[in-house]
Symmetry: C2
Subunit: 137 residues, 2 copies
DNA sequence: TTTCTGTTATATGTGTACTATAACAGTTAG
DNA sequence: CTAACTGTTATAGTACACATATAACAGAAA
């Protein structure tokens, strides 16, 4: 798992790190139990401050993506068991709200409903087409 | 077109105003040629500063949603003719990127590709089901 | 010409992001 | 048990975005 940050980006550094970890989980490159580098070592490698990495880890912890184990450090969590049902619902509602917002923007541009759904389908296929080692329960 | 802002929200005021105008365009409540209130009067009605409204209008102008006409004020633009092809492509790429990001978040939660597309379809239907007085060229 | 439009300039206060130094409690390798 | 390393918290400083406030400007229209 190679992490990197773009200092010139308008996206906050801690957000970039958080997103890359989530991408790793989504692609299957990171699995439950996998260890994350320590906040100090990662900060050193990226050339940024320790607290910036710590904030990214804290966000991932609050979102249920990561669990902390004392000195052992941070590990990828089993999201299905770590995240509370209420929190999971919040996150799903958030994604749904975002989708509605994008649909609104798309419609304001004059795009049709069918075109938007098709665009979503294409993007989803791109994302899910990456290293899909997932089981279908 | 009734505009309102939430001072307690984490979303910037100028962004709230911008989004509501776009929503009006999407729903058909606002059509090309419709006038917008002056920055001073709207600021007065909302109880906020003139520059905050002015920033919202400037963003809408840059995005092609609004055109200015000297003293007459601001009017809803004909987005199809006002927005340059290059700018339109940028905006579409932005929406596609956002969709990919949401798909990634969804997959990291353990959701399937089919479920995500279905969620997008439902949200799109909600958005497009609102006052659809659009023509189908 | 007068009035109103959006626009720009400058200044102030607040909140977030990032950095820097320092110390702390918990866990674990030795 | 002890020393070392983990994430965590506290405090402080800088930089930038957001919102406010006051002021003035150029352009278009009543």
């Amino acid at each position: 798992m190679l992490l990197q940050v773009d200092l010139a980006s308008s996206e906050p550094l801690y957000r970039q790190i958080r997103t890359q970890i989530v991408q790793g989980v989504a692609s299957g490159e990171l699995s439950p139990g996998d260890p994350l580098p320590s906040v100090r070592s990662l900060a050193g490698n990226l050339g940024i401050n320790m607290h910036t990495v710590n904030k990214a880890y804290a966000v991932l912890r609050d979102e249920g993506y990561v669990v902390m184990r004392g000195r052992s450090g941070a590990y990828i969590a089993d999201t299905a068991r770590t995240v509370s049902p209420a929190r999971a619902q919040e996150q799903l509602d958030h994604i749904a709200g975002q989708l509605a917002g994008l649909a609104t923007e798309y419609r304001a541009r004059g795009g049709s409903e069918m075109e938007f759904v098709e665009l979503a389908r294409v993007q989803a296929h791109r994302v899910y087409g990456t290293k899909g080692e997932d089981d279908a329960s």
